[in-house]
Symmetry: C2
Subunit: 624 residues, 2 copies
């Protein structure tokens, strides 16, 4: 472990989840989403594409994204089987792994589209063709597959492909000094290096990261033979985060998913290479995102048409892009930085995105998906079964499969609890203390989390519990005894003592319904309020109102009560009260009619919207 | 006149303006803006470019936009001299006209950039290179120059160029079946045809309009040799309004200035060719724009990064693009449709854009300009002296020079008053009635407009006065006698009688400060109110507040008084009262603190913002 990174996550393989909320989400992912995604990959020809038999004129022409969809399904399915063995799923995993292995070319290349459809265009359009991106997802899948099965073939194929890529790209004159328009391979190569211990994969990741944005920009060279298109949008390649060397980047720009995948790799390399400069750059970008470019739901990317970051504080609620993958990527990034510093802000962004803007990407039945997760809709935005570019469903499945990895970190003598999710984690500290920590309770709808230790032998260590900023107070009891005035450090309440089997810590986090406002520079939220309770951001949707939620305002003095409804949306706490409704008039603009009528009000957690009758929705509500 | 178009504008050459508000705007345009713009064209090398002596390696390399800037300056200067002779300006006009004439090539081609910088790329990139766009602006300038001077040379050069273009573009196999990526030449060719009586210019305009969007799309053919860039933005060429034949277009899409210039040409051709289908298409697009894509200020184009239309009702206030040129083009378009039908909605969009989102494009001193006219700013948006692509300043100057053309229309027996601007119009109706109509009064800050007729001999005609929808009532007096219950037709109060010299009509339009709301689908304006008084939309800016206007809300019950301040911003009516301020807290999101304090409130007309200390501004204000 580098000196700069004091913690490592306890990986999901050592954390079993038993939680009133998340167990069901994992079950749906395993039994329904992954099955659905497999069927969609099959029916659209994505698996067949890997047989490399497609010929011009045939249906289901492979697409440049397809191998990434297939690889991500494979990766996510491996995680699901890791959690719970499933012979049917295992058979599918075996089949897909064999398809990938069989599609590898003698030189190591492995891409169905550029092998069958445009073989002459291999590596010709790095900006847009996602070739290295697809390779990255294959590497991640191969690592997951090897972890699950222990079989060496797919991992070996991934390494051969990585070595081939390493022969094509690099600083020598005979090599291409390029990198992918869509970052992903960088973090994947770090994973591959960690899984195999092969240093050259790490070196290739570092090459791709450091080469990015160096002048003259490779992407300018790549398109130098094209007539100048004067679309100003990526004139400086900022869309691809290639406008300047990554160490000099201070502002998050361009395509949001691309960006956060890069920032992940920067944090990874900072850790692997003990590189304070890369860490500082990743942290500066974190500051930029969280201070002015982050939606309340944990969504990022306010620029709909480009799936991209826009100007600071420009956070329109309708047509907020907030791609599901971008929130998932944000979680990946926050999780990496959290290992550097147990600062609540990282864990809270994970929580914010996880319970809201990422989770909203999947329907309650696991069968349909949001690509965009706006914070307001006039009624036309709905989940779909599948997409031409279907990156989001499998990304959510990857996240749900590895959810256990996000709950705990361990340091030399420390165990940190980041998320209040019922689970049991097995750990072994450098200090020698080993055992398990079981978390139970009634979160997220309730206020109690109870931790029980089982240790091989008693020993000293520090337990740190994140005190969420949504909790206005907290109460800790150790073995039933209250701990008064527990100090917090970076938002974590820490208890250091000699622990033994059977010791318990109870963490009480009182829930309040928070009325939130925005920084005044967020013009889109002027005069509006959002409701949050615990980790959940709330919204109102037409299904709960007689009139349109677009006509509703919430007076400052309105009393809001919280009530758990087990029959609603799989069981959620709803917020209820009375609001005001102003009837609209005709036209785009009109003189206001002051008449407002009282109307019942009910808000539901944002993640659960669009699971009933379609209609309008909003998170930010005018204050009446 | 076609049967479908019942009216023609009384052109500005026959309308002299004497108005407490607009005369000063015209003076500033003439004496300061045009002088400033000329100096900028000179210092940046735009005039020198027309000498065709630029060589690679020299400074001031010509740019593809430059000829349009120069031509638009020339056109605007001709209008100014038409209003008031000015020998110094006339000398500049002569020089620039000679530069254009001297730059014409033997084959008729006339473009400084593609003659000196990229001669091999003539007509190679119609999508982005603005070649035909620049030609169009030259044609408009040539017509204005001929009207002013009577000299034939520049108009002849324009016709030669048009004929050359007509030889290059057309349906024959030897011709290019293309059209410009930025519409403009279409409406310019109609003007050229009207000025010269040359039918083939009209035919070429019709060719460009009808060819647009026909499958296979020329732009796809043009880029067929390029590798596929997967930028989804103009995959179907909607950015250029070339996604389908124009007669089938029902939704305003793509670049807003491009779009409205096309829609102008569609209305022009409908009129010239008595073509109900083109008129219907232009009207359908009008409906689409005004029902869901129009800002309160008369701005269009909510998609900042592309200067383009976005989805219906998506009208964010910060980063509203609202290019000055787009509001000017919207006025052009509305003015054309208004001649078809004296419907208040057309004239009101002219008024809305003219007094607000277009006029804001120029500082009070005429020396600096907005390219974008957002409805809210966090404080960073300010006028600039000039732009690399400096289309907006001269477009405003063209509009101010021709302002007289927008006030009146005449039909066979009808004279219509669209705008309340002090002026005198000379007219001659088809019925034989001829004379002048003088408009005086205290608009726009006051409520009275007085019209006095001078006729060569008495005669019957109808006078129609637009009753603005912002006036909750109106009172007409003819020769001092009230006309009770005057009927309105399409928003125009009409008085038909036998008129004689000295007859007067007084129109009283009571002013109220209107509190406006938006259609609830405009999420950006939820719970917010805007103030309008007469034609002016108001805003609040930091210069008038102790705290930031971003922290201010206006209670529903707040009393607002209006007060004319002759010393402020050249003399404006301000709106005053008391509002509430909520102090912000730190961070992007935080729990609301209900504490609000009372604060003095002052709103100024939107057009006049950013003429004092820089700061934040907003049109839509949260209701307290």
């Amino acid at each position: 472990m580098s000196d700069m990174f004091r913690y490592v996550p306890i990986p999901f393989e050592r954390v079993s989840i038993q939680d009133p909320f998340w167990s069901e989400r994992q079950r749906v992912n395993h039994e329904l989403s992954l099955v659905k995604q497999y069927a969609m990959c099959e029916s659209t020809g994505r698996f067949d594409a890997l047989k490399l038999q497609w010929k011009p004129g045939q249906p289901n022409q492979p697409h440049i994204f397809w191998d990434s969809d297939t690889a991500k399904w494979l990766e996510a399915a491996c995680y699901a089987c890791q959690i719970r063995e499933d012979s049917a799923l295992r058979a599918k995993i075996d089949r897909v792994a064999r398809l990938f292995i069989g599609a590898q070319q003698p030189d190591g290349y492995l891409n169905s589209y550029f092998t069958t459809v445009e073989p002459q265009r291999r590596w010709k359009n790095l900006r847009f063709n996602h070739e290295l991106y697809c390779a990255g997802h294959l590497f991640e899948a191969a690592v997951a597959h090897h972890t699950l099965t222990g079989e060496p073939e797919l991992l070996a194929a991934a390494e051969r492909y990585a070595d081939y890529i390493g022969s094509v790209f690099g600083p020598c004159e005979s090599q291409l000094q390029g990198y992918c328009g869509h970052e992903e391979i960088e973090l994947a190569l770090v994973k591959l290096a960690q899984a195999t211990g092969t240093a050259r994969h790490l070196a290739l990741a570092a090459y791709f990261v450091e080469q990015r944005g160096k002048a003259p920009c490779y992407f300018d060279q790549e398109r130098r033979d094209l007539p100048p298109d004067q679309l100003p949008l990526d004139a400086n390649n900022a869309y691809f985060q290639a406008h300047q060397p990554v160490r000099e980047q201070k502002e998050a720009v361009g395509h949001a998913v691309r960006a956060v995948y890069l920032y992940c790799a920067m944090a990874d390399l900072a850790r692997e290479k003990d590189d304070a400069g890369l860490l500082a750059a990743s942290e500066a970008l974190w500051k930029d995102v969280t201070e002015g470019k982050l939606y309340l739901t944990g969504g990022i990317g306010s620029y709909w048409e480009r799936e991209a970051f826009s100007a600071p504080y420009f956070l329109p609620n309708d047509r907020a892009y907030c791609e599901t993958c971008a929130s998932v990527g944000l979680i990946f990034w926050a999780h990496r930085l959290l290992q550097h510093e147990a600062a609540r802000s990282y864990a809270e962004v994970i929580e914010r995105a996880l319970y809201n803007g990422a989770l909203s990407g999947m329907s309650l039945d696991g069968k349909s998906f949001f690509y965009q997760n706006p914070l307001a809709s006039t009624g036309e935005h709905h989940r779909e079964e599948w997409f031409q570019c279907s990156c989001c469903p499998s990304n959510l499945s990857r996240l749900l499969g590895t959810l256990g990895s996000y709950i705990y970190s361990q340091g030399a003598e420390t165990l940190l609890v980041h998320l209040y999710i019922g689970s049991e984690a097995r750990f072994q500290l450098a200090s020698g203390v080993r055992g398990s920590l079981r978390q139970s309770g009634d979160t997220p709808w309730g206020e109690q989390a109870r931790f029980t230790l089982a240790l091989e032998q008693e020993g000293e260590m520090e337990l740190g519990f994140r005190i969420p900023s949504w909790a206005k107070a907290f109460h800790l009891r150790v073995n039933g005894q209250p701990l008064e005035a527990t100090p917090t450090d970076g938002g974590y309440a820490r208890v250091r003592r000699i622990w033994k089997t059977g010791d318990t810590v109870e963490v009480h986090l009182p829930l309040h319904t928070l009325r939130l406002a925005s920084n005044p520079r967020v013009i889109a939220n002027s005069g509006q309020v959002a409701l949050q309770r615990g980790p959940f951001v709330y919204c109102i949707e037409d299904a709960d109102f007689d009139a349109s939620v677009l006509e509703v305002s919430l007076p400052r003095e309105a009393e809001i009560t919280a009530h758990f409804d087990p029959a609603l949306l799989g069981g959620v706490t709803v917020l209820q009260g009375r609001a005001l409704r102003t009837a609209p008039q005709s036209g785009l603009y009109y003189e206001t009619d002051a008449a407002q009528e009282s109307t019942p009000f009910r808000a539901i957690p944002y993640f659960a919207w669009d699971n009933r009758a379609p209609g309008a929705m909003r998170v930010w509500i005018p204050q009446g």
